[in-house]
Symmetry: D3
Subunit: 244 residues, 6 copies
């Protein structure tokens, strides 16, 4: 089985982080997984949601959205339909949960960081690109918190890093980092979120066309572990560059 | 670690299916996993959603909801808030996907079966009880389709059975079929949907309090496989009883 | 004119109250009028709506809803349509008004009791069953308030009992407690809510197919008085049974 | 007991119908019950709602609304709140049902008449003024249908007239046609809709402050019969005037 | 080019203000521009929106709406559609901005005046009639504030007067104060809001059918200046009449 | 008065069009007016809205939106609030009207072009940048229509070009192309849309802090004419570059 872009089965698409892509947010990252392009911004607000007030702990939340023509054919805006669809809800919740896995809320203090992940162009893997990019934006926002001396213990806020990748079975072949064309053809589709220490934050595997065996599951998890490891080192490398 | 109801770590709560619990639906099952009680009904309509018309294929969809006081403290109705919450959306989509995994849509012909899963009392595991009970309701609705000679090939509609169970890690102990109290205390929470042939339809595992290792994942999957196997035989047994 | 279930014109369907039907609510009653089955729960919250704060008086409110497949053919969920329909609004308001008729709000103190009436199976008379069952749930919640020493004067909260029944004219015959089939055929339809002392809380009579004379009105009211009296003694009898 | 405007207990407020109050509608009536002022318009459309198509029968529906400052203090617009309140729903449904009681839908043919009742100034009895005025607007729209030769049998469309009045018990005194001040003070509140032949279309009686006896009910019904009879003759008189 | 009602190109339709048209509001004016009829009410509330609290300054806001049958054919209610349309939003905002141009918020103190402009009959120019009438209602509400000694410096609240008129190009002819028929036929459509001192608050000119030259713009502005001047003196004249 | 970026009063900010910025749309342009950055995409669909079917004419519509953190402080998503705000409605309508001014709908045939203008970064003038950029995207989509031989007469679809610019009075100084900081400080704010032949499509001028004289209006229009002329030649120049 040959992939349309000649990648090996266990190979990521070219990944790129452009930090400070916009000026206003405390963290702003354009993340690209091949042709998938997501703008991840981190916005800091003092205060926390009502149910958390007085706890001394902060909060991290996320919202995911696709521009109407980020996709092959235009889809209606959720703002005009007047409600958020199930898929959007599900992905926003997944991103929020994933990022919260690397945060020490005591160290953050009663501040809220909102991660907005807006898909500018979609070519498969938008949610995993969003999580991986949102970590970079979160990191930059936490640095900003330190510079502004807002968080209690800014250097303790991030307890680990987080990245995510999709894997799937197309035909009988397990593949890493599916593009749209592969995603549509996949019999099984799985998204894996991992921390820098190599453990799992979230596994979501769906048999779209057929159910899958434990063997297939293990093959997919092997690919995902390899992919997340590589994403972690790309995140680390981007932090070594000077922010302009 | 002792469970509050003295169960072994790998033991299901008492499971009970009451078929024909209400009179109107084509399939109507009250499913109980311990104190969790979900009414699952299957409603048959001729015709399919617009995007599927003319395909010759049917459709199966699901809606999940909790009665306001099915929980410890009363929650507001989504009908009054005017919108469906993210959790409800997510679970409805999960139930629909899970049940579609065992259906041959060609054999169903252009008919739609809607599975309504309404939680009457919640004590953990409502989504897995809903899937497991919805399969029984779906089965009875398909039998009805056969009697009414509506589906094309009623005996080919169901290609397998489907059941689901929750597993989790509480403290360091992997446990099967968490009740509410255990669910709240769990560091890791996983829902597993399987077919009768022992393969996976869906795995959703979330590190709520901490991330989890591959070893822990494997222990949880072992428990889930055992639990689903038992649920399958309970489903099979209920079909051997005469419906009144 | 013979009724399909052989009842006399002035005869109620079999009425049954199952108290403590679910575990969480302060009052939980499954009420059955024949095949009509409504789950009535009473939830206690400290505090009252904003407009009543500081008055020293409590509040009682109600919400009515039908499960999508409680009816012959499935109806859409109001949560998914995003708004409450007129009929639901009307009945919720009727139930709330009716139950408030038997409550001394000073004695209740600044506490709110919410009555949720969810129709599990509909066969005519759902609103009258809901009111009659909600009174039983309210009664149990007030007992709970007394045990918890929350209300100011728990034994003074309920100043009377409340029950409700439907009457109608089918053909030329006035009938008590219409089932769905009779309700559809009725020319005139009336719901009557009464207190234990035999006076009216609410009369709502609608000429569905034709207008009705004062004579017919009087015949219907005679039937309703008889029906409500019987419901009162059934409510009284259920309170003599030990709650498990 | 003296009424603030010196009326006898069984006396209506001054009632006035101004026909053709606006130019566009097929029927347009400004109805005044004392200071209560409601604009009732009747709009004719060819065609009927989907569920009635092909039946050969027409439809009549109504919508009620209050201008934000028709009341003593300003209330928010339902268009801005994004949903219709329960009271509005209830009254719109009541007006529709009441007017349908005097229409022969076969004679109307597949046409729809929409009655819009917009309260310009509220001083109690807005729903009964709306029904009474809407009948006049409906009458004029039916005349228009005849002139345009749209209805099948225009002179058979209206089979009777309809009017409505409020009655109540203030203190111990039964009163006819309550103004706002009396309505607020009423222990019992009843709205009665009658046809020209003296029978009831709708009775809605609510014990707001206390329940009421059958004797009180009868006194209120006597008042209502007297009031509706007078309204009928005022309606008849207005039709004898030339429309400009 | 002859206008259907024989007016000269630079002639207003008959303009009429009826003050105190309803009893409850602090200002209530029925304004008529020919057959266009708008009820403008001004409602005073103590307090200001949250974002303005503590500023010592007041606020003026406006809401515009059309009755469903104010137009040639009936349009659906926005309350029933569940959302405000773009045109309604736009006009409400325009009215609010326009009226705020003549108010000294310091002098008003922390009070809010809400201007409701409800179109009872539409024949073109509803937004300009609304602004012109709302000024009269606002004026009366400010007088009321003075009598009640609520505003800080009531006689300083209004710093100028405000009026508005429409102009357009029909065929090649610039016309003042377009009626509906002319509005539909206009190639260019412009609304102009002016203060009593002859300067502009707002100019909104749209080339509906074609773009327009600077010359045409100037001709339209000349007409608008003449029209607003006349409206100002009509407003001034109405204030010289005694309010009943 | 010196501008913060040293521009002359009649000088535009640096303007940049990046065509084909995303891959999927038929036209995709990133337009920059200084730091204001808007993604304008043009999506072609066969067919037209219902009210235009059978006319043989096409349609052009637009939707404007801001990413939540395109602004200095984060604003809530309209999709989550469940409704479109007044400002968004107003700007979407303005963009649609403006672009329709340069289209021959007969030549387009029954096709719809949707212009999505999503603000990625806001620094004043987002609506004028959106209109100016949307014209470029529309142009590219029309070229695509010609290549695909979809429109009836593709080379006749665009009858002119369209561009837009903001002008304002800050202090007493009329300025061209206001950045955010200037916009906030402006006493008068005006947006002007022009066609390539130098006539006006739309003028919207608002006295935010004070009303403005006819002289000031003329100074602002002179600036706007100069600005639009320059934008037209920048648009023309970008079309001379090869699209990759």
């Amino acid at each position: 089985m040959t992939r349309s872009d000649k990648r090996a089965a266990d190979q990521l698409r070219p990944v790129k982080f452009t930090r400070s892509w916009t000026d206003h947010p405390e963290g702003s990252v354009l993340v690209e997984f091949g042709r998938t392009r997501v703008l991840c911004t981190a916005s800091v607000n003092t205060g926390v949601p009502r149910w958390r007030r007085g706890s001394g702990e902060g909060w991290v939340t996320a919202e995911y959205s696709m521009l109407p023509r980020s996709t092959h054919s235009r889809s209606d805006r959720e703002s005009i339909r007047g409600k958020i669809g199930g898929r959007t809800h599900e992905i926003s919740r997944l991103i929020g949960r994933s990022l919260r896995a690397c945060v020490d809320f005591k160290a953050l203090g009663e501040n809220t960081i909102t991660l907005d992940c807006d898909v500018l162009q979609a070519d498969g893997g938008t949610r995993t690109a969003a999580i991986t990019g949102a970590y970079v934006a979160l990191h930059d926002a936490v640095t900003w918190l330190g510079e502004k001396k807002i968080a209690r213990k800014p250097d303790k806020v991030l307890v680990d890093s987080v990245s995510a990748i999709s894997v799937g079975v197309v035909g009988e072949a397990p593949l890493l980092d599916l593009c749209y064309e592969e995603d549509v053809a996949a019999a099984v589709d799985m998204n894996v979120v991992m921390t820098g220490d190599g453990s799992f934050v979230e596994i979501q595997g769906t048999g779209e066309e057929r159910s899958y065996t434990r063997d297939e599951l293990n093959q997919m998890l092997d690919l995902a572990e390899k992919g997340c490891k590589e994403l972690m080192s790309l995140q680390a490398r981007t932090f070594m560059e000077q922010l302009t």
